[in-house]
């Protein structure tokens, strides 16, 4: 077959794998071939993209902008708006961000975690310097979950599927990324994750890429709407209990990029500036503005 091949770096535990499995089930509708390349971590995905082993990975637009400012020609197309969440014990006394004061907070991914930075910005609006007033515990996501379960931290800010797993086990979600943005006065649905690929590659594969995006959208809808398709995906969730599976599906579907996807430039710019100030340039790099071309547009 002379179908164009798209090579995609897929994290074994990520939702992209679900989608692709549905998508690949519909070979007759699509005019391209997907070649999945399993990667273990997000970093492994980035390496794969840089070394040219894959064409597309899933990552975030802040990173894309940062890399662009360093001369790389990556670009971003929205994939999901799901974001991490702040979890506490069901009967915890913590009910609002300001209750975190003096508590032990577990944070996945380190001090440049976007949710953590935005949470700090939100607390700032309430005149609370979170960075100084909570006892931070950074660690790998699974360890952070474990810490919460063992009661070694009072709250945990973790990636969304770790949050979902906690939720299925009866933990309470205090606030999620979307909620934090709302609190900061940003109502728009901003994508957190997206397909990232080389601009040059995209330019020469416009048609295929477009049809890939279409198919992926369709796959998403199938996953959320059709029971048989979901059943096929269940083993990929790597969760044994139905509650967790359901929670994962729910969170995943909530994150669907319903609108055309491209965020309004000035909203993205606002978040960018926010992250830039809170992280003291560390997350975004030197560039004062979101790099033009960070968001890919077909035309």
């Amino acid at each position: 077959s002379d179908k164009t091949t798209i090579r995609i770096g897929v994290q074994a535990t990520g939702t992209l794998a679900w989608e692709l499995s549905v998508l690949q089930g519909q070979t007759k509708d699509i005019d391209f071939k997907v070649e999945t390349h399993p990667v273990a971590t997000t970093e492994a995905g980035k390496i794969a993209l840089q070394s040219g082993a894959v064409d597309i990975i899933v990552s975030d637009w802040i990173w894309v902008s940062r890399m662009r400012s360093d001369g790389a020609d990556f670009t971003f197309y929205p994939y999901s708006t799901t974001s991490g969440a702040l979890m506490v014990q069901r009967n915890s006394a913590i009910h609002a961000v300001k209750d975190l004061k003096g508590k032990r907070l577990g944070i996945a991914g380190g001090e440049l975690d976007k949710n953590w930075l935005l949470l700090q910005a939100l607390a700032q609006e309430e005149q609370l310097d979170l960075n100084a007033s909570v006892e931070k515990v950074f660690g790998a996501p699974p360890l952070i979950n474990e810490q919460l379960k063992q009661g070694r931290v009072d709250a945990a800010l973790n990636y969304w599927h770790f949050g979902a797993k906690l939720e299925a086990q009866g933990y309470r979600q205090l606030i999620d990324g979307k909620g934090i943005l709302k609190g900061l006065g940003i109502q728009e649905n901003i994508p957190t994750l997206g397909y990232v690929f080389k601009q040059s590659w995209a330019d020469s594969h416009k048609k295929v890429l477009d049809s890939f995006f279409q198919s992926s959208k369709k796959a998403k809808q199938l996953l959320c709407a059709s029971e048989p398709d979901w059943q096929k995906v269940i083993p990929l969730t790597q969760a044994d209990d139905v509650t967790t599976q359901a929670k994962l599906r729910q969170r995943y579907c909530e994150g669907n990029v319903m609108q055309s996807g491209i965020p309004e430039q000035q909203v993205a710019e606002r978040i960018y500036t926010l992250l830039r100030t809170v992280s003291n340039n560390q997350l975004t790099g030197k560039s004062e503005h979101l790099q033009p071309g960070t968001f890919w547009s077909q035309d």
């Binding site: 535990t13 390349h37 070394s51 082993a53 996501p141 979950n145 474990e146």
Partner: protein, 249 residues
């Protein structure tokens, strides 16, 4: 009687280890330390499904190739640096630098430059392991017995004979040390290498289980690897030791 005791002791020590593990598991009673039986079961399932043999095999292949390259090159360079003061003065710096470059850096650079290929992965392991071998063997080469070297020279042993019969046996304990602790090191590095750029192997799998916090599976895979290393020790290293140490009184 004596011989049976000698073979019994290692078995006994294994049993004691298992008992300690079982006790700890019972005492902690959390799924952070599953009991041996649970892990054994997972291990067995993994073997039956072919998952463990597959990933173990892939990793072992990488391990053997990169370990052999690193040991051969490392011995050669180590001997040269240990015997040649001038070269040593020049390359000493490089050695220290390569010793202290984080594995992460070399792995990323290897992958980014040479692509996510098998050879890049192996190269990354070799680069990480090589300086360690060199440093150990260099110490050995510095401590060579001058008397015996002079003897070899006056009886015109030549390069090959000297290396084989005079230098090698003296380096043997260093090489054994580098082999044993080196296997462990390569194994540690290979896990990271696989984590960052391979789609199979123990490192890839272990990370998966870590994400799922599946300690039983992590331990099952660990057991598989430990078993292989034990076999290697019993079937290759121990007999080599016995043979090489025969001459000691």
């Amino acid at each position: 009687m004596l011989i049976s005791l000698r073979t019994a002791v290692p078995g006994l020590s294994l049993l004691v280890l298992l008992a300690v593990w079982q006790l700890l598991a019972v005492y902690l009673n959390s799924n952070n330390l599953p009991a041996p039986l649970v892990v054994g079961n997972v291990f067995w399932q993994g073997c039956l499904s072919g998952q463990i043999p597959y990933h173990l095999g892939v990793t072992l292949l990488r391990l053997i190739v990169s370990f052999s390259i690193a040991m051969l090159l490392g011995c050669a360079i180590g001997i040269v640096l240990g015997r040649n003061k001038k070269l040593d003065a020049f390359f000493d710096n490089w050695l220290i630098i390569f010793l202290s470059i984080p594995a992460l850096v070399t792995i990323i650079l290897c992958y980014v430059w040479f692509g996510l290929t098998e050879s890049a992965a192996i190269l990354a392991v070799v680069i990480n392991k090589l300086p360690n071998v060199i440093v150990t063997i260099r110490e050995g080469a510095r401590a060579l017995d001058q008397d015996l070297l002079e003897m070899a020279r006056s009886y015109r042993f030549g390069k090959r004979k000297t290396l084989l019969h005079v230098v090698w046996p003296q380096l043997y304990p260093y090489i054994m040390g580098a082999t044993r602790s080196g296997l462990a090191l390569v194994w540690k590095i290979i896990l990271v290498v696989e984590l960052l750029g391979r789609s199979n192997g123990m490192g890839y799998q272990l990370h998966l289980f870590f994400q799922l916090f599946d300690v039983a599976s992590i331990l099952a895979y660990t057991i598989a690897f430990v078993a292989v290393i034990q076999m290697l020790e019993l079937l290759v290293l121990k007999p080599l030791d016995t043979k090489a140490q025969r001459w000691r009184r």
